[in-house]
């Protein structure tokens, strides 16, 4: 009986479980005491049940309507007193969800300019704010990335509008978060070391003549010193300062912030720059002068500020942070080498960079910027405003240079699209204050049709690519435009004062504040007329750099070209607003991603899986995707085990390449006959000489084996060669411990591969291509050496879907079987084969684990009831198994290539419906070995056809694989 009571006494469960079975030893007669006790027990159980709050509603919701009061949810005292205790507990529970009411000051005080600036400065201390931050924060979804606060995408609906801006008008983007590393030193010293971190194989190097002269901007991929093709650091763009007679050259290397630390460390290592240069402390003198000036302005405006009255003269207004707010002022940001005198300085946030994308970007530029007027007299002898410019204007040579530069800049208007300029053209310029000629209303900048009537002004890319020169009238202006079009910008025009640090500082410090400018505007006699500042107008040195847009591939050449504009810091908003007033659209990180996707270029750091930053990015992406996946209820998730997707959140590149290597070795498919073998060995080495050096250094054994091979006759060579081959592989395994794979970036090989990817038969397309590219046929003795020398390589490819389908992130690229291809050629509407459903082999495990956990919990509860502390090893075991999630592959990955019915070739890193191409397009990497294997096997007219499957689907779709170089 006591037992029964105990059962009933378990609170709520007690009364619900009240349907007890009657035990056999039930008394057969009624006594008063049992009767009474039974009633009492029931009353207890009922009381408990009634006392419990039934639903998960708040306390005040249980009150009848006539007792409710307005502010009950905020103010506990509005509740009846008997409920206040419960409500207080509830409020405490919910307090962490509520936003903290931290502000002690009232809103008016908080919004006062001084306090606002102080607050902004405080918030900038952790993450760097761009100068356009406030503007962006009002219009964009902001994300914290790479130590910056960046606009991700506009809050308004603008996906298609941004694409249209890119293709037809102009898209503006703030790229100031890119970091500039400045190298100063003698040219040959710089080049000698820089040659170690890049390779001629991948395209440009720092030595490229046209870049070295400072005429063009170049872009290249950096590797760890002497490690090419392994240990990728990341892509950079670089500019040389044009030669100006002095011995030292200046080089700017622009890197993505995610790569900055790696590259900076490597640069410091190769130049042996460990010595920090003398600490640069921003002189307080200059700032205090400005502050005083500001104080004066404030005081003349009328003594409104109570703060100053209260605290007297000592109250120093807070200064707005310009540049990097997170920097420690006492830490040095430049390093000097003792032996060579080379200086590396980190100029993060010192130079701003805006990017204009679109065919009309230079009409926006020409409308916004006006070349600075010459000035021979100082406006005010006290200030330093424009003193560098005045000095400059005294030199006739420099004046003529400025005039030539501005002439070329004005001619830009006559060119219909930036893609017509040679890629990477640099034009230096000195311009006046762009705020002065701000239009009254936001207008759309369009090219002036009247002025260049002879030329057909096209706004679309398709027509802009080819223009017969004879069409032009003999207008002298047109002649000049044609000349510019043919010859590009001359070298000397690339010079700009932005390279000079002192001038930049002067320009930044002597900027007329927005307030003063507005004040002067208000005092104009005719409201709204043009404000002529005369000699007071600031002159700003800038640099314009052409961005080439889409260069590889056949369709849409020059798509997405535009101009980059480099400004000295502090002038961000002064240039930003005038650009906005010319009708440009502003994009964020997402738009930049789309831009590079439509251009089919790799994006930093998403598409560099072999660099540190790329790996880091992939890991973060996996974590977020997994988190998102876990948030769904298990029944509503895709079961990736059943779908045959081994790793839906991260691409196992290392595993993929390794599996392909093993596969090739095991199948022996490409083991050639003996005469081939020798040649392939030699050619293989010639194909990748740096690689071979690495191998040789690492393995004296291989060298020995090779020697023996030379001695022995050709018949006997087979065996030894085999041995060396395997040894080679072994050695490589050791050398490639860091990543396990490389990404093929050698232009020569990529060209070759690209030619092979086209169908040979059919429309007879390939004959044309071969004749054009001068490529060899795909025979064994050509591709075998490639295979041998790059056993674990990835190739960057782009895929466009033949029919339906929309590729997604981490979609799988697979090899179609012969049946699939046959089916495709027979049935025009065939979408693609289906993957048979897999069995979830982990389901039982997961369930068992769950049950065990439940049991353990129960046990622990019991123990806790008994008073025992839970034993420690128990917990550890439970944590070990925590990562078993239903629907995900939880073991070590098996052979990824052969897990599904179609052999896996690679993964998609970015894929979406392409507005530019009008079909689904994807970018990704495939294994080089797999690609060659597939191309070799495929019939001539079906070359380059692959299957795509998104991770959460069983449907394969046909796609065409392309390699664009």
């Amino acid at each position: 009986k006591g037992q029964n009571r105990g059962e009933r006494g378990r609170g709520r469960g007690g009364w619900q479980g009240g349907c007890q079975s009657v035990s056999e030893e039930m008394p057969k007669y009624i006594t008063v005491s049992t009767f009474a006790q039974a009633r009492a027990a029931e009353i207890n159980a009922m009381l408990k049940a009634v006392a419990q709050k039934s639903s998960n509603s708040l306390v005040f919701q249980t009150l009848p309507r006539h007792m409710r009061r307005r502010a009950m949810s905020h103010n506990i005292k509005r509740l009846p007193r008997r409920l206040q205790e419960v409500a207080r507990k509830e409020a405490e529970k919910a307090v962490h969800q509520k936003k903290e009411q931290s502000k002690t000051k009232c809103r008016k005080a908080r919004r006062r300019h001084i306090n606002l600036v102080a607050e902004f400065n405080r918030r900038q201390r952790k993450n760097i704010w761009l100068e356009t931050h406030i503007w962006h924060a009002k219009r964009f979804h902001m994300v914290k990335k790479w130590g910056y606060c960046l606009g991700n995408s506009p809050t308004e609906k603008s996906y298609r509008a941004c694409y249209r801006a890119m293709t037809e008008h102009c898209l503006l983007q703030d790229l100031s978060y890119y970091c500039c590393l400045e190298l100063t030193g003698r040219e040959n010293e710089l080049l000698k070391q820089l040659a170690r971190i890049c390779s001629i194989d991948t395209g440009l190097t720092f030595e490229e003549a046209c870049c070295l002269s400072g005429r063009f901007e170049g872009s290249l991929n950096l590797y760890r010193a002497d490690h090419y093709p392994e240990d990728m650091l990341g892509p950079v763009t670089f500019l040389w300062k044009p030669r100006d007679g002095s011995e030292n050259r200046q080089l700017w290397i622009w890197v993505h912030p995610a790569l900055k630390q790696d590259i900076l460390r490597e640069l410091k290592a190769i130049f042996q720059c460990s010595e920090p240069e003398e600490i640069y402390i921003p002189e307080p003198v200059a700032t205090s002068i400005q502050e005083e000036k500001r104080m004066d302005v404030v005081l003349t405006l009328g003594k409104k500020r109570k703060k100053e009255d209260k605290e007297g003269e000592k109250a120093v207004p807070v200064k707005k942070i310009i540049g990097d707010g997170t920097r420690d002022p006492f830490q040095s940001y430049s390093w000097i080498s003792q032996t060579t005198g080379i200086v590396i300085s980190d100029k993060t946030m010192e130079i701003l960079r805006y990017r204009l994308i679109g065919p009309l970007s230079h009409s926006v530029l020409t409308e916004t910027l006006k070349a600075a007027s010459l000035q021979t007299e100082m406006a005010d002898s006290e200030t330093e405003l424009n003193n560098w410019w005045v000095e400059n204007c005294k030199d006739s040579e420099k004046v003529s240079l400025h005039q030539r530069q501005s002439a070329i800049f004005e001619l830009l208007e006559g060119i219909s699209s930036p893609s017509e300029m040679p890629p990477g053209t640099i034009l230096g310029l000195t311009v006046g204050d762009p705020r002065v000629n701000l239009p009254k209303k936001k207008t759309k900048a369009v090219p002036d049709f009247e002025k260049y009537q002879g030329r057909d002004m096209h706004q679309s890319w398709s027509c802009a690519q080819w223009k017969p020169l004879s069409d032009h009238t003999d207008d002298p202006d047109n002649d000049k435009v044609r000349q510019l079009y043919l010859e590009g910008v001359p070298v000397d025009c690339a010079h700009s004062f932005i390279w000079d640090q002192d001038i930049c500082k002067n320009v930044t410090e002597n900027k007329i504040s927005e307030q003063d400018l507005n004040h002067m505007r208000a005092q104009l006699l005719v409201p709204g007329s043009h404000l002529d500042l005369g000699p007071c107008e600031s002159k700003i040195p800038i640099l314009l750099v052409q961005q080439p847009g889409k260069m590889a591939g056949e369709d849409r050449p020059g798509w997405g070209s535009g101009w980059d504009i480099y400004l000295p810091k502090g002038w961000g908003m002064a240039f930003w607003i005038p650009f906005i007033y010319r009708g440009v659209r502003v994009g964020g990180l997402q738009e930049a991603l789309k831009h590079s996707e439509y251009q089919r270029t790799p994006h930093t750091p998403n598409d560099f899986p072999d660099s540190q930053a790329g790996m880091q990015f992939a890991k973060e992406l996996e974590a977020t995707l997994l988190e998102k996946f876990k948030r769904r209820p298990p029944a509503k998730r895709a079961n990736y085990v059943k779908l045959g997707t081994l790793s839906p959140f991260i691409c196992p590149w290392g595993q993929l390449t390794k599996n392909w290597e093993v596969r090739m070795k095991a199948s022996g498919e490409f083991v050639p006959s003996s005469p081939h073998r020798e040649r392939c060995a030699t050619e293989g080495h010639s194909f990748c000489y740096p690689k071979e050096e690495v191998v040789k250094e690492a393995s004296p054994k291989t060298g020995e084996a090779e020697e023996t091979m030379e001695i022995t006759s050709s018949e006997g060579a087979l065996k030894t060669e085999d041995v060396t081959g395997t040894q080679d592989f072994g050695e490589r395994d050791e050398t490639m411990t860091t990543n396990g794979f490389i990404v093929l970036r050698s232009e020569k090989l990529l060209m070759q591969l690209s030619a092979w990817c086209y169908p040979t038969a059919g429309r007879d397309r390939r004959v044309r291509l071969i004749s054009r590219l001068g490529q060899k046929d795909m025979t064994e003795d050509i591709f075998l050496p490639i295979l041998m020398s790059y056993p674990r390589a990835l190739v960057w490819v782009n895929l466009s879907l033949l029919r339906k389908g929309n590729p997604e992130l981490h979609a799988m690229i697979c090899i179609p079987t012969e049946d699939d291809l046959l089916h495709l050629s027979k049935d025009k509407l065939f979408c693609g084969p289906q993957e048979p459903k897999h069995r979830d082999i982990f389901k039982h495990k997961v369930q068992k684990l769950k049950e065990e956990k439940k049991k353990k919990k129960k046990k622990e509860n019991m123990k806790a009831l008994e008073g025992d502390p839970p034993s420690v090893p128990d917990k550890e075991t439970t944590e070990e198994h925590e990562d078993l999630i239903l629907g995900l592959w939880s073991d070590a990955l098996p052979d990824v290539t052969s897990h599904c019915s179609r052999t896996l070739l690679g993964y998609v890193t970015r894929g979406d419906f392409s507005l530019a191409a009008g079909c689904g397009e994807a970018l990704g990497f495939v294994s080089l070995t797999g690609l060659l294997y597939m191309l070799h096997k495929q019939p001539a007219d079906k070359k380059g056809l692959v299957l795509l499957r998104t991770p959460a689907s069983l449907q394969y779709r046909f796609a065409r694989l392309n390699i664009e170089v």
Binding site: V32, S33, F35, A40, I43, V50, P64
Partner: protein, 166 residues
């Protein structure tokens, strides 16, 4: 918000035979009630009543049973309850009848009613008791339940917004 409205019928199993308590279990009670409805109202009535019909609570010691059915058909149920004459389980059948105590709109009101009802019963018992030992026993049990009441006083008081009963 729209919900299905139910009626909860609180009844008491009264039997001469103390052994009857053995067969008070939810299956037996449910079957007996269904049987009675079928006899009185026919197939139609049985079908009407059996929508969401369950025995929500049952206490064999006190013989309390809480039945649930839809609001539309509770009259059919209530009118059939007097026709339950016996309970049958484990091949034993004992004569008994059901005494309807209360019909409520929520379980909560039924619980509240049950508390009051039981308390009243105990008090009646206290008044009618004959010897000293019984008196002590009843007092003790009364005190025991009032003690819990004091503990959960705040909770008890919060529920004075009684939902309307039928």
């Amino acid at each position: 918000m729209v919900r299905f409205k139910n009626r909860y019928v609180l009844c008491e199993v009264v039997s001469e035979d103390p052994r009857c308590r053995q067969c008070i279990e939810d299956r037996a009670v449910g079957l007996a009630v269904r049987d009675a409805i079928g006899r009185v109202h026919g197939d139609y009535g049985l079908a009407c009543c059996s929508i969401s019909f369950t025995v929500k609570y049952l206490n064999a010691y006190t013989g309390t049973v809480l039945l649930r059915c839809r609001k539309d058909s509770y009259r059919l149920l209530c009118s059939a309850l007097p026709f339950v004459r016996q309970l049958e389980s484990r091949n034993q059948r004992y004569p008994c009848f059901l005494n309807t105590l209360h019909v409520g709109g929520t379980i909560r009101t039924c619980q509240k009613f049950l508390i009051q009802y039981n308390r009243r019963q105990l008090l009646m018992l206290l008044q009618n008791c004959t010897n000293e030992e019984e008196r002590r026993c009843i007092q003790k049990s009364l005190l025991s339940c009032s003690l819990t009441e004091e503990q959960s006083q705040s909770g008890d008081e919060e529920d004075d917004d009684g939902t309307e009963t039928d």
